[in-house]
Amino acid sequence: MTQTNIKEKIFADLYSEQEKFLFPKDVRAKSVKLFYKSDIPDNKTENWRKFNSKPIFDHHYKLGKKLNFDTSVFDTLSFFEPESNRIVLTNGYYNENASEKKTDEIFIGSLKNAEKKQKEIIEKYLRKTKNKNPDYFSVLNDAYVKDGAFIYVPDNVKLEKPIYILHFIQSDNGNIFSQNRNLIIAGKNTSFKVIHTFHSLSSDFSFNNTVTDICLDDDAQAEYYLFEGEGNTAAHVNRININSEKGSSFKSNVITFCGSVVRNNFHADFFGEHAEIDLKGIYMPDKEQQVHNFINISHSKPNCRSNQLFKGLIDNKAVSVFTGKVFVARDAQKTDSAQSNQNLLLTDYARAHSRPQLEIYADDVACSHGSTTGQLDKEALFYMKTRGISEKKAKTMLMNAFLKDVTTHISEGSYRNYVNFLINKRLKGQHPESLCNIKVCPSC
């Protein structure tokens, strides 16, 4: 099948839709054209090495509709605090009944239906990120996305409680294609946390194409927690654009729990000095799942810090790919950048690809990178067993210890407990889809 055929077959619904798209006509026209010209990335595309798009393009999807949403689902999400600000999206659409705004200090809501005043703000910030390093899926998103979440925290606002963006795949009949575009704006000298989670309420095949733009103004401090748990039949391409102004601090933590193929694309750029970007992540693919973390950090300004720590437990015949690009411009002196990727292969068939890529043009910088891939420490296992600890328990303890470097940095207690709970269940041998598909996980 040719690529054009694939596009027409897979995304047939898109073109027949009469509903308005998020971006204006002229912008869209360009993106549509670009989308038709571009090819599905494969192993030959440098930034997408080892990416196998088959789990995405093997199915025919229907465009997800806006369906009735039963908020009792919240009861299954133990990290969720009902008294907090929340945006609920289903199949990419803003759900006004389930969403709730609790504080007047901030703007949250639908990106598409933002008020006129906010529209100007949105325009201003989106201009910053648009069309930078576009890829096949971000262009698809540009062209056909309809809605998503919008969070604007105005200057000097500091929030204790997290803001939630909860995304649910919902199917009434058949496979779902869903897109969403989110924008998070941190005003000057703000401080807040966002917990952004993805779940599925169906076991039909789904493909979720997400783009989230995060803009941090001067001295803003934001923590961003991403949880991907849509289940074994879900494909997810998730692009996160981070734009950091001077003195800002961005800390993110992505837990990729399951998915047929999940690709996280982080594109981060420093626009001012003394800013900090910290990206951490855990991935635990099982079966024949693929998890890709692609990171592209651009140190365009001096005196900035970036840190990457990604850890993976790869089970069965699963594959993980980590690509960590760090670009340091000629003027970006005193850059401090660290990168670490560690993988534990739990079977003989599991595979981990790790590709650190440093491109450094400044001469007074500290850039480190390290990558390890191995198996559980046999010596430690034997030592534990000689104390009477069973093999299974010992393995669980070692795997937990391995992931701890990442999970301990989750500052939001209830969310950290949720993540640890799922990890523990998982390490005890429960299959991820039984945990992720929240319908069948009453204890979560």
Partner: protein, 252 residues
Amino acid sequence: MLSIKDLKAEIDGKEILKGINLDVKPGEVHAIMGPNGSGKSTLASVLAGRDIFKVTGGKIEFKAKNLLNLNPEERSREGIFLAFQYPIEIPGVSITNFMRAAVDEHRKHRGLDPMNASKFLRYMKEKKALVELDAKLEGRAVNEGFSGGEKKKNEVFQMAMLEPDLAILDETDSGLDIDALKVVANGVNKLKTKDNATIVITHYQRLLDYIVPDIIHVLYNGRIVKTGGRELALELEKYGYDEIKKEADKQF
């Protein structure tokens, strides 16, 4: 308690133990001495159930059970404890969690419920005091960043926690200064009862000044070539292993 008959073991096809015979009764302290490479540590590893060694012949009975049928964790729960020559560092696993898991498994094996948290912490504190372990353990990972002395003390602390019937101390004296050696030996002596037994594996007789054995065996080239009382250690200290080696080489 422990009865080893004609035990043979190899690693990668190379025979290390060539027919060991050893009987240990409750209340006894045995010392196994011998030159480097004689098979002392291999014997300890085989008793603990390390799978890189292949047992090719002989029998080991422990409390009337065939030890060779048990995996390492079962041996531990049955009452065997190996203090490692080189204790393993386990980053990310706290000593408290580690000991808690171990003690729980031992209790389960004896049909007891797990201890509650406060009771367990009290128990840990008690045992720490018993073996004079003054290092702060809470929140530290198992052996991570420990000095040589701390690691060995930690082994004795674990032994105190698990109260084994048979403790095997593999070169526990190696790398210890005299003060640490005394603390370690003191701990071992305090744990001694008329019902448990200890096998002390050492290269030097120095440790035996502090842990006094009832019986001393000399292991050479995979066999116990000489067995005697306390005086044997002093003899070895004076004349070295050469005499015994010569005799043994003639015999085999």
